[in-house]
């Protein structure tokens, strides 16, 4: 592409911008291969440092996401090797298949889903949204909410399941009839 031939090599600011732009996609990719958000956070941290160090390998900006996924994938496998003694997680075979399939995810479609999800979240009440967000805000958050509301964590998880069903349906509807 003629446009790119006279472009300067990617610099720090480009890197930060690209990481910011693709961070969510990289996190989703890592989450599909790893058993917890803690693991994702560790892997993304290590992978971003490597991406930064190896930025010289990247010729063009459009290669950033596929290239980033390769690095994240490598770190996910390393995580599995190091942690395999601790608790159950998916086998190497399944993780490899998932990685291959997740590398092909259409990010434009993902962006539409995200926008649909964001709109659907607005249809929930404030306490409902709080419950949907609770699992991401600390391990004990659901239990805390249950104590505050005088109910059991189990009951809240059931309620959460129903809310997530509603969100899923809403997203599907919006994608089908934008």
């Amino acid at each position: 592409m003629a446009e790119n031939q006279d472009q300067p090599k990617l610099n720090e600011a480009d890197f930060m911008r690209l990481l910011l732009q693709h961070e969510n996609a990289l996190r989703a990719f890592a989450r599909s291969l790893l058993p917890s958000w803690d693991a994702v956070d560790d892997v993304i941290q290590d992978a971003s440092v490597i991406m930064w160090q190896k930025l010289g390998q990247l010729e063009e900006e459009e290669g950033f996401l596929p290239w980033g996924k390769v690095i994240v994938r490598f770190h996910c496998f390393r995580y599995h090797e190091q942690k395999k003694k601790k608790g159950a997680s998916f086998s190497h075979e399944l993780v490899s298949i998932l990685a291959d399939e997740a590398e092909k995810i259409d990010e434009v479609a993902h962006a539409s889903r995200r926008r649909a999800l964001e709109t659907c979240l607005l249809k929930l009440s404030e306490p409902e949204r709080e419950l949907v967000f609770a699992p991401y805000l600390g391990h004990g958050r659901i239990t805390e909410l249950a104590e505050l509301g005088g109910t059991s964590a189990n009951a809240l998880y059931k309620k959460l399941g129903r809310l997530r069903d509603r969100l899923r349906n809403c997203v599907q509807n919006r994608l089908a009839h934008p």
Binding site: N4, M16, W37, Q45, R164, P178
Partner: protein
Amino acid sequence: MNPENQELFDLYFQGRASDEQIAELEQRMLANPGLRKQYLDEAMTEADLRNFALREDNVVPISPSVGSLVPKPNNRRLFVAALGAAAAVVVLASLIGQKPATAGKILSSELAGWQSNQPTIEGAAFGPGTYVLQTGVATLGFHSGAEMVLEGPAQIEVVSEMRVIFDYGNASFHVPESAVGFQVDTRYGNVVDHGTRFSLSLGQDDEGARVAVLDGEVAVHHSSGEVKHLFTDESARMDEEELRASSDPTAEGGLAIREPVMILGTEGRETSVVYSNLRKQKLSSDFLMVKQVKKRQSPHVNRRALLAFDVSKIDLAKIAEARLILNAVPTGLGMVTDMPKVSEFGLYGIPDDERENWPEEGLRWEDAPKVEESTRLAAFSMQRAEQRSVVTLNSQELLAFLKTDQSGEVGFMIHCETPGATLVHGFASSLHREAAGPVLELVMNEASHTPGDEF
């Protein structure tokens, strides 16, 4: 979907699945590609929800300037910290043990057109950083309890929940007891509040600043060192030279002397069209989308945006000046890098006849108003490196087009005139969550709208 599969997904992603359940899920996924696709969708939703959750919980740090935060590559710790701030990599922020500071929340946003790296929707938390309010009115509530109602155009720098640097604009402040000591810095001096309501008006040029106290007390510290205390109904003017007290509370400056402006929104009268007519896949109600591919490429992804304003209640003859304001926002579709560095756009006036009657939903490319049948009213350019910007169009052609309207509605089309490749240009629609939709600002010669109507 089989609810058992969904239940297993939920347990797995919530970290509550037993070893047996994980093994069961694995077996099912190995055997079923469709289930793996659902799993990957679920992982995407998890990532998006977590992102929204952390944003809502104010954990996500937002950078005032990405470039300035990039450290030298040999300092890994700093690098990690900068990532935490710049890339919203939440864990990195938590690793260095700091929850990023926020200064307050945006309490309301009335037709507000912001220019900022920070989230500017109603309810969004704001942190230290520079904010430019191009149009409209916004209310910022600081954690200290202080409230600032800001009228655009204005530029401020939030330092903390107790301090703001005011570059220009009009604002009124309400500072309750909890925020006594709240300080507003200007280029001429500082205003320290002692529990009050006061207003501040400061132009972009060197015409001075005016402080007026509506209730309570403020101390004005001029850069010369002079200090004056102002009480209820007192006001003062300061410039580089001096600080003068004045007891005329009616001479409040900015707000009173401002030209009478009417601000019109599209009220949802807006849409985009795409050549392929695959509206569902290619268009989003969040954006007015514009794109033109190079001639040798298939035009099926070309897009144009249409928008209209109701001017039926306005005395068009009395319009002295017209400004059409668009907020350019990234659509997230396509690559910035395969565009020329600068793209040109044209604003076209749609003929004042049945061609104005396009529907907002389901409009097909071939039924939409055509560029070649419309009048070119203004042109503007945008740099590919700046996907967020405010576009203000105020040509004489635009003014003339408005004044000759007969139908009570003025319709416009935005057309990209620089052929590119994949990038889809976007302007916020009235449904966009962060940026304000298109606004038509009309400066009137005198108060002239139909009696009984309120703007």
